[in-house]
């Protein structure tokens, strides 16, 4: 075993933290308050190379390994970047662009990836439906082949980047008589007739990310927009799970480190009963809880990333454990961080209430904690 990061990785992480603190973090609170997507920060992520870290250089990416890519997510969280922007980045780069990289034709890659990697275009992925959440096979959206076109009908919900996306990877049934085997994946561009996004949903957390429904009403797309072959969609959606369990968990790990540093700064300065509150054991106890969570969750996310770098098939048991731990065990530290700040922790002026709200997505998004438990209990 060897848990060491390379010097280059550690330097890169520092660079991202420095960049994010300077360019993004000062804008985070304002955009969160307004529930607005920060296009400028998103473009800056593209300019810095973060949106295309693991993509080949041919398409404008950096060719980084998965561990480095996960590290970027952790660094953004550690710098104080909000969960909304990191979620938007994840949905864009891993759920949309990575699926195009893996399964699209070369022509499609050339058409979409450079724009997605630079941040000129924004991507999203449409899988979940009002009556088909974790039970993906129950999806009702259909894609009917008519001549050289597919005609999509149905709707999707809880789609991160839905209202702002230029391109979507959409899953639909090409064979409604089948369950998983009837699902196929398609590329749908904004502006396609019959394709529309709903208004942004009002959410508890990750508010700067824009989430909406997607509607398909006799939406015609060329047959070449089918990704891979008919019936391969479900397996494509499963491949994104590897990112869900590593790169998309990493910002939560980083956020814990941000909370720890913020709470320590505050507890050193804030005085009550004639001394800094950091001198009280109850406050130290809370800081310790946050640190322990950060250390414990870090190894889980990087292990999934390292396995992916080795080219191993996803270990669904370990992936579910990682997701479950970050989902269910993050509420304690996030609550502790808010409480350390007392009344200020409850106010928007300080970041802690936002981080608490953002953290509540962890046990829900990308497969709820109950689904992770179901997976684990079936495998063991």
């Amino acid at each position: 075993m060897d848990f060491a990061f390379t010097k280059e990785q550690l330097m890169f992480k520092k660079e991202i933290i420095r960049f994010a603190k300077k360019e993004i973090v000062p804008r985070v609170q304002e955009y969160d308050l307004n529930e607005a997507f920060d296009f400028e920060s998103f473009r800056k992520l593209g300019d810095f190379g973060i949106l295309g870290l693991h993509f080949p250089e041919t398409y404008g990416g950096s060719g980084a390994d998965v561990v480095t890519t996960v590290m970027a997510g952790e660094a953004l969280g550690e710098a104080g970047v909000d969960g909304g922007l990191t979620l938007a980045y994840g949905a864009h780069s891993f759920l949309c662009a990575d699926t195009i990289l893996r399964h699209a034709t070369e022509e499609q890659r050339q058409r979409y990836l450079p724009k997605l990697i630079s941040g000129e275009w924004i991507g999203c992925m449409g899988l979940t439906e009002p009556d088909a959440g974790s039970d993906v096979a129950s999806m009702k959206t259909t894609a009917e082949k008519k001549g050289d076109k597919y005609v999509l009908n149905g709707s999707k919900i809880f789609i991160t980047n839905g209202p702002i996306a230029d391109v979507a990877v959409v899953y639909a049934k090409t064979d409604p008589s089948q369950k998983h085997a009837g699902i196929s994946a398609f590329i749908v561009e904004k502006g396609t007739k019959g394709f529309a996004a709903g208004a942004p949903l009002i959410k508890m957390g990750v508010r700067t990310s824009q989430t909406s429904e997607l509607f398909f009403n006799n939406c015609e797309i060329p047959e070449e927009n089918l990704l891979g072959k008919e019936g391969e969609g479900f397996n494509m959606s499963l491949q994104t799970v590897e990112w869900d369990r590593s790169a998309l968990l990493a910002p939560f790990v980083g956020a814990a480190k941000y909370m720890l540093n913020s709470c320590a700064d505050y507890a050193r300065k804030r005085e009550q009963f004639g001394r800094p509150i950091g001198k009280f054991q109850a406050v130290k106890h809370k800081l310790a809880n946050i640190r322990i969570f950060a250390e414990a969750s870090q190894s889980l996310a990087y292990k999934i990333a390292w396995c992916k770098d080795q080219g191993r098939p996803l270990n669904h048991l370990e992936a579910a454990v990682a997701k479950l731990f970050v989902g269910d065990w993050s509420i304690g530290p996030a609550n502790d961080a808010m409480v350390v700040f007392g009344g200020y922790g409850f106010c928007h002026e300080y970041n802690m209430e936002r981080i608490f709200r953002d953290s509540r997505l962890a046990p829900i998004g990308g497969g709820t904690s109950d689904i992770q438990k179901m997976i684990i209990s079936k495998i063991i």
Binding site: A264, L287, A288, R291, A296, L300, V321, L324, I376
Partner: protein
Amino acid sequence: MNYDFSEKEFTLFVDINEKMGGLAANGQLDRKDPAHNKENIKQALKQLAQTPYLKLGLQPVDGYQGQLSWMGAAETLAAVSPSAYLAVEASTRLFGRAVNEWGDSNQKSKWLTPLLEGNLIGALAISEETLNIENDPLTAQGERQGESVAINGAKQYVINAPIADWIAVAGTCDDAYALFLIEKEASGLTVEPAMETLGYDGTPISGIRLEDCRIPNEQVIFPPADIDMAEAIRMWENQILLGAGLGLSKAAYETARDHAKSHRSGGKPIIAYQEVGFKLADMLTLFQTSQLLAYRTAWTAETSPKEAGELLLCAKVFCAESAEQVCSEALKILGGNGYITGNSVERAYRCAKYVQIAGTSTEIGRVKIGDAALGYRN
């Protein structure tokens, strides 16, 4: 980066499981049995001496990664027999490690060699009534009297004291930290009867008293002046307790899982019920997270010892508390079977509390972790 143990390490884990499995059968290593506890531990040491286990972390062993390999092996042994594990570790990686790190070549050949061959049981006595969060100065004291040293003091909760051939007593001498190596028959040494404890029934623990106990100068070890001996020993204890916590979680989780798959209720295995299956999922999550954290801590201790302190405290708190939670949930899954004295889960549940209390307690651990975050220490 590499998250896998090597094949050689896995082979060792299997070997330990096989060698110790017979000895530990029917819980015989984990019973309070004053007439046989010493013999049991001696047999365990003899078995382990046939493998690289006792040397790991103390001496380089080709193909193994010191403390990291040891942590994986420790988990295996602690799952097979919690009591044998604690006794073996107190002997090897408290008493033995002190001699290995701070003893001279004569002292090493006198105590370390037989210890690693499985021919000597050691104990290390450090805890005193006055010890607290600040690690107050040790009151056990040695006074030089010519060629010998006279020691006075009292120690509590000394693992292996009733069965040890030699006891290393931590104290001070000449205004410096010192370890006094005292043979079991030494005049002035009183080993109190083994305590009745909640768990670790097969590991005799007792207090000792030293009243003008005289030993030759050659039996005194002085750690280097820049070493905080008490802090170092606490760190070793915490490392041992990490392995203990992993082993308890492993034993409890695996027993509960196997029971849930074989025990049927309402026409199906109880694991098919979400109340049971989801509990096991939580237990496995705690166990696997504990493993990764403990392995990373051991790796850090092996590669960058100076950076390991805070991480070790984090791992100690997490693994210790997780062990109790895993054991508690396992008991519920076993139902009435779990409540019967003598089964491995009930035993692990009783042992788990010790892992939180011993070494740096989880409460003090949190204070120290908090202090580090605040920059108040280190």
